[in-house]
Symmetry: C2
Subunit: 346 residues, 2 copies
DNA sequence: CTGAAAGCGCTAACAG
DNA sequence: CTGTTAGCGCTTTCAG
């Protein structure tokens, strides 16, 4: 009907007389007319909705997720898109079917946050849904994966320590299967190598990315190492681990940064709540989310266009934003010079 | 077609022969058939999706929201519902139009989290959408509003302080227009009254619910009050404010709980990250979210049923779960006896 | 400039 | 037991 035309804003060539226009608008108001999203979606083959798939619920508030989500929400809303959240367990493999079941046209595209992907799943999902990943463990070939510069961040952190005179630096790393863990180790190695400090393999300590793990590793280190063998600084794989370290030290009346320097990773907001406030490497979480939105939307549009005119492909592959975002060192109060108990080796 | 019947699980009386059933299932698999949510929604008048409206983005990660969201996500998913998030600015009034525009059938119901509602908006929204609120500033008549026992929580907190021997207790309260602020003040008064401690009106200090406000209020208190006039304990309107207090004190080398006892409210997870860990009043955030889901869903079902058979109304108003959830005191390390500098007044 | 007609993918009622 | 029919509310040609 004419109604559709006027209610959706003038449709190009078709102009409507002012008389009927107001008549329609009034009627709509009187009838409390609301357009129906389902019907519109059915017709337009577009729901204007993005799906976010993430393992939100780690028992612990997932600040990391919240940061990205804020970026997504903001960007999506700015482009008139809704956002629906699919929360999965941390066992991605167990929830693959569930995710697939969301491929029923209720969202136009998906953003998978820090997914643990299997090759077969990637393939299946691609069949039914256009999607991008953020910090996937194994960036699947052919899928857009947004990432941060883990290697560079770790390098920055460790170099910061070295510049303060530290040479005995332990790295409390993360679970091997997680995204970015390998890269952070590489950055740690590079910084040491550059300073001609030999890498002590035993000082790269793997463990979980949670507070308890940080506390345990620190406690273990403190309890089993002779005073002269202790490191002077700890580079922690994330902020939670760093906070665990802080706790373990507090329990033993050790001070930061006087007795040990501590540096974290992520800059989730709890980093400024510790005492002393944590020096850490900030990830651009919001930007990550916003960028993810841009990228899926681009894919969706491209696909929609492709349906109509198969040509015009590869129109601007040069314009795509980089998929690796840079990180930033945030200097706060948890790093100082090495304690006097060690002579600073020149 | 028969297809619909078999793909949706046996439809009561209509049984399908095993032969055609497998034929259909196979064909579906071969064709990579996916049902279409929009079409189904259009027909069933039900999207199986809930909307969550909240002001998520306070610049600061909103742990409060995240807690509720987790509860919602879990409960919704358990009942086969999706969740889409509508993020609004903190100026609810400015976003009323936006919220209304989401009433287009894409969600079957809404949960408004800590909304600031105007009477006219409540009315309008009710016209187009079934919804419940969580901790609305002014629980609108006739709308389900979930709440926690703010009064009781404050009472618990202050009594805890009193039991430790404190009698000089300042309350760093919240913004007057926020939900629960009045109630917490009432709880504070009740606890004091019960202990026959006169209420010093100047000790109920209003202010924002953020860290900086806590720091400022504490600094101001410390800087403008003679030592003999100082309180021995601070009851903070939320955890962020408590953390601000902690910071202000740390800056002056004051210790907790030796010099002052501090108690918070919310138990957002950062409460255990402070040093000492914060004694606080825990809100059942997850439960709040889960309960909200139950309630909207019940309303939606009821409404859907009402369309068919107008009767049978008021079938079980007694069964509805209470709308006020109880809170719990979480004792950690930030409360101790009053400092020796004050004699404990009997 | 306006309205009639077709159809998006699905479900529900009803004949074969 | 199976297939046909008629919309759900909207958009989009395409004739009046």
């Amino acid at each position: 009907m004419t109604v559709s035309v006027v209610l959706n804003g003038a449709h190009s060539a078709t102009r409507v007389s002012e008389a009927t226009r107001t008549r329609i608008v009034e009627a709509a108001a009187r009838l409390r007319y609301r357009p129906n999203a389902a019907a519109r979606g059915l017709q337009r083959r577009r729901m204007d909705t993005l799906g976010v798939v993430a393992a939100i619920d780690g028992g612990v508030p997932n600040l990391y997720f919240l940061g990205i989500l804020n970026g997504i929400l903001e960007a999506a809303s700015a482009r008139g898109q809704n956002t629906t959240i699919f929360s999965v367990s941390h066992h991605w493999a167990a929830d693959e079917k569930k995710i697939l079941s969301f491929c029923d046209g209720r969202v136009d595209g998906m953003i998978l946050i820090a997914p643990v992907l299997s090759a077969s799943f990637v393939e299946q999902l691609a069949l039914h849904m256009t999607y991008v990943t953020v910090q996937a463990n194994e960036p699947p070939k052919g899928i857009v994966n947004l990432n941060v510069d883990d290697e560079g961040g770790a390098y920055l952190a460790v170099r910061h320590l070295i510049e303060h005179g530290h040479r005995r630096i332990v790295f409390f790393s993360g679970p091997a299967e997680f995204a970015g863990v390998r890269e952070r180790i590489a950055g740690y190695r590079r910084a040491l190598r550059e300073a001609a400090i030999p890498v002590e393999e035993a000082w790269i300590v793997p463990g979980g990315y949670h507070l308890a793990s940080g506390r345990e590793r620190m406690a273990h280190l403190l309890d089993t190492t002779g005073p002269s063998e202790l490191p002077t600084a700890i580079f922690c794989g994330n902020d939670a681990v760093a906070m665990g370290c802080l706790e373990a030290m507090a329990e033993r009346n050790l001070r930061v940064p006087e007795d040990f320097s501590i540096i974290g990773f992520d800059d989730t907001l709890d980093a400024c709540l510790t005492s002393p406030r944590l020096t850490t490497v900030a990830q651009p979480l919001r930007t990550l989310g916003a960028r993810a939105v841009e990228r899926v939307l681009a894919l969706i549009d491209q696909e929609a266009a492709g349906d109509h005119e198969e040509g015009e492909a590869g129109e601007s592959p040069a314009e795509v934003a980089a998929d690796v975002l840079s990180v930033q060192l945030v200097v706060r109060g948890s790093v100082g010079p090495p304690p006097a108990r060690f002579s600073v080796i020149k």
